[in-house]
Amino acid sequence: MTAHLKQDEPDTANFLDTMKQGVLGKPVSRIEGLAKVTGTAPYAAEYPVENLAEGVLVTATIVRGEVVSIDKDAALAMPGVLAVIDDKCLTTRAAQGTANEAPQQNPRKVDYWGQPIAVIVAESFEQARDAAKHLSVEYREEEGAPLDPSAVEPEEQEDETVDQGDLAHAMARADHAADLEISTEGHASAAMEPHAAIAEWDGDKVTVYASLQMLNYNITELADSLGVDEDRVRLVSRYVGGGFGSKLGVSEEVVAAAIAARAVGRPVRVVMSRQQVFQCVMRRSETKQRLRLASDGEGRLDGFGHEALVSNLPEEDFAEPVLQSSHFLYGGKNRALKLEVARIHRMTAGSVRAPGEAVGMPALEVAMDVLAEKTGVDPVELRIRNIPDCNPEEDLPFSSHKLAECLQQGAEKFGWDAGARKPRQTRDGEWWVGTGMASAARVHNVGEARARVTLRPDGTAEVRTDMTDIGTGTYTIVAQMVGEMLGLGVDDVLVQLGDTDFPRGSGSGGSWGGASIGSAVYLACRALREKLAKKAGTEESDLALRNGAVEGGKSLADLLDGQELSEEGHYEPGEIADTHTASGFGAFFAQVRVNRFTGETRVDRMLGAFGFGRVLNAKTARSQCLGGITWSIGAALTEALHFDPRDGHLVNCDLAEYHVPVNRDVPEVEVLMVEERDPVASPIQAKGIGELGMCGGAGAIANAIYNACGARVLDFPMTPDRVLAAMPD
């Protein structure tokens, strides 16, 4: 049986709140936690497969052109080498998130420096790596590939364009106006687990153990890449060592492992080197943005402009959606928004945690800080004043909106001083100390999801779905959802994820996993409750289940009477997505210190206050917020991809020179969850969490730097050189 819901109407019944177990939302420790801390949780490269050969990708050393020939014989003569594979089905880019079809193939055609062109298979990893380094490749290079996003005529993304009223006029007549150009550098996901796959064929069926976020789409992408039917492919990703967008689509090593295993007739493992992960998966595009804000004397916006230039390879649909939340966060009837893409031959641009808002929101929030200074309105108050009643571009109601509460409660908890603000008011030895804040916003998404929940005769439950847990806490919230609905403790719920033999989940990405799969599980449980109610001789709405029994009645095991009950929940986003604007909102507060000699910035403390609907697990939800804030610190201070101007190759392609935050960069962080029930977001009233924590945070740090030392830095990351360059004498 399948319980299906396509959500077309708001759900204000909040049925979950009538349940009796009281486990949903609680700070339950991760149910897979002991497996992770003892090293027994298997990640993609770690499945025990017999007779494994090792594959290593070979990558291109030209920008654009074609592979003319490969000296396979020389490589095959090296010790242990089994095969040199340049099959036309090898993929040369990772698929974009939810692509649901093969990404670019044909490794003979080169579009960027570092692109995979072949895979070498050998008996041992050392043999394969050595042979890959030695492979002699002849290229025909096509000169003149554009590499600089500022030097090409960009393509306008017309569905992003808004031209409403007359912004230029609004700017000219405004009491106060801010007009800023802000840039951000490219980012890497840099998940700690490198992309890896083990492929094993059994007849004409292949099983691939991989590290992927969205198996439901990845299976189609892989099957399409291999030219086989989907029913001949099984993907397994029980544990994913971080994704952050880089594992949304099927990546090159997955297809390579499957092709190689078929070619050599035995299982093959392909693990990307860290350098390859940097160079041939996904980058977040750099951005150049222009922000224009026009306000009256009290800071009320009359004009709002946000334009951005991003880049990507030819033939890629993805354009960093910089303006995503700018469309609705603040009012202003005169509006001009425009997103443009420069087609250049750097590696593929795609999703990196919080695509769009991660870089758009900090820029907007710096502009708001400039406006606050010009108007003399406290930055928190300025934002509250500009919260629109409805989406200012489409006249759609908000599903729920906690920005004002987050700003107010966050300010109070942080101890925000709403008095007059001026840079350089506090010095501690060599350090200027200051505070800053920013709003947070991140659009809410949901995806189609299925999950099967089975009540076993002993009264325990099992959940099966190909949904993934990339560190977000899926295992645990699924157990909590089942526990809440069926009156079970989380220990009585076995959660099986990450296997395409199970019903298809939503996958993890765009912060949609919790709400989507949670809804599917919820629906399955509703259907199970119907059956249980019938057995108990009552209505489902009256069925009170707690601690494995009907309250004041039979235990589940007795009720089941030796039978097993199983239901599949199937959740689909409905029309409601078109009739409302749904978003998570929040506020960041930061205190930083800036060294007056060296321009080094250290974050002293940060607070984030967020409203994202129902909290499914207070512990893992908080951790998601901490993670986002940590990323905010990286985006603010250290993270930048550097590309060579002559061949476009990613220069700092390792973890020594691409600076993700280290432990010492992250201070005391406080998280305030402003709980709400969003009736539109999902039938469980939950919204996305994982990305919101970095959607604006870097702006709070930028504004704190200004308040500390008077340096208004308009280029992210705000490395010491940039802070010094902007610092007044």
Binding site: D130, E430, F597, L637, T638, H642, D665
Partner: protein, 328 residues
């Protein structure tokens, strides 16, 4: 990695004999060498492990200094009571570098021989005169954020990436070296590393077959010792600029000023003229500025790293101000 012959001699003499060929290399902690071998930047045919040859003690010298064996780990040096009390600049420099895991393996001799972190050097599919003489320098017209502003050449602008040697340069330590034929020589740390010139593949004065056996620190010196490292993140990052300083005051004037700089050049940068300029003068902003003028008079940026010139000036001022307790 390319296949190689691994040898683990049990005596220094045997090690010397094994490492005479051009294609042999020594391995001690291995934290830099294996990194580069995996990238095939280093492709030795023979690797001679010297990790069990002793040379792992810190001993007092006759003239009141300390002799740090080549195989003493960075951790052991930084935590040695004598180093901590008498040569805190060295302990601080080591602790500012890398991570505890790496310092537990990294050795004194290996750290001195640490190779540059230039992105073009570590990528074998890019030009680099240091790695492949005559192939050109990728950094000069490329991304030169990490690179040098002092003593660069048209063939190489790489920097020496370490911290330990910067402190040793300020301390005027001496490197003890034994050659393939068993003869011994001593080279001041200040002269150990080379500028790139037109032979950028030579990082230092070591000849084929030579082995570092120890670094000797001179007798305890008076003055305040400071190590200041400016970096993009608060830990686990190479220096944009670093300064090791030993500054002594006599009354209101500077009596001693030994300064060495990291992140600026192909070697820990020591300019004896700074000491001449500073000693005998009363510390103030103008004096610190003059010192920076002198330090940086021939500095040349390569676009991406232009910032290092003002950053070095400001960091020097901060260090001198702290050491002389001058309010700026």
């Amino acid at each position: 990695m390319r296949p190689f012959d691994l040898q683990r001699p049990d005596s220094l003499e045997h090690a010397r004999n094994l490492s005479t060929g051009e294609t042999a290399t020594l391995i001690a902690g291995g934290t830099n060498l294996l990194d580069l071998m995996k990238l095939q930047v280093e492709v030795p045919e023979r690797v001679v492990a010297i990790d069990r040859l002793g040379m792992n003690e810190i001993q007092a010298t006759e003239d009141g200094g300390l002799r740090i064996g080549a195989l003493v780990t960075n951790t052991a040096t930084a935590n040695d009571a004598r180093i901590r009390s008498d040569y805190p600049v060295l302990a601080r420099a080591i602790l500012a570098g890398a991570t505890q895991q790496l310092r537990n393996r990294a050795t004194t001799g290996g750290n001195l021989c640490q190779r540059t972190r230039c992105y073009y050097f570590t990528n074998i599919d890019q030009p680099c005169n240091k790695r492949e003489p005559g192939s050109g320098c990728g950094a000069i017209e490329g991304i030169a954020r990490l690179h040098g502003v002092l003593g660069t050449s048209s063939s190489c602008i790489a920097t020496y990436p370490g911290d330990m040697a910067v402190a040793m340069s300020a301390l005027d330590a001496t490197v003890e070296i034994v050659s393939a034929d068993g003869s011994e020589r001593s080279v001041p740390v200040r002269d150990f590393h080379l500028l790139p010139g037109d032979t950028p593949w030579r990082d230092n004065v070591l000849e084929t077959g030579e082995i570092i056996t120890a670094v000797t620190l001179p007798a305890l010196v008076e003055g305040k010792q400071l190590y200041r490292k400016v970096r993009e993140r608060s830990s686990y990052a190479f220096a944009l600029v670093s300064v090791a300083a030993i500054i002594a005051m006599e009354g209101d004037t500077i009596a001693r000023a030994d300064l060495a700089f990291g992140g600026l050049a192909h070697k820990p940068w020591y300019d004896p003229r700074l000491s001449d300029l500073l000693v005998g003068k009363a510390p103030d902003a103008a004096l610190f500025d003059s010192a920076a003028d002198l330090l940086l008079e021939n500095a040349q940026g390569y676009g991406e790293n232009d910032f290092k010139i003002p950053l070095a000036r400001r960091t020097l001022a901060a260090v001198l101000a702290e050491a002389t307790e001058t309010e700026l």
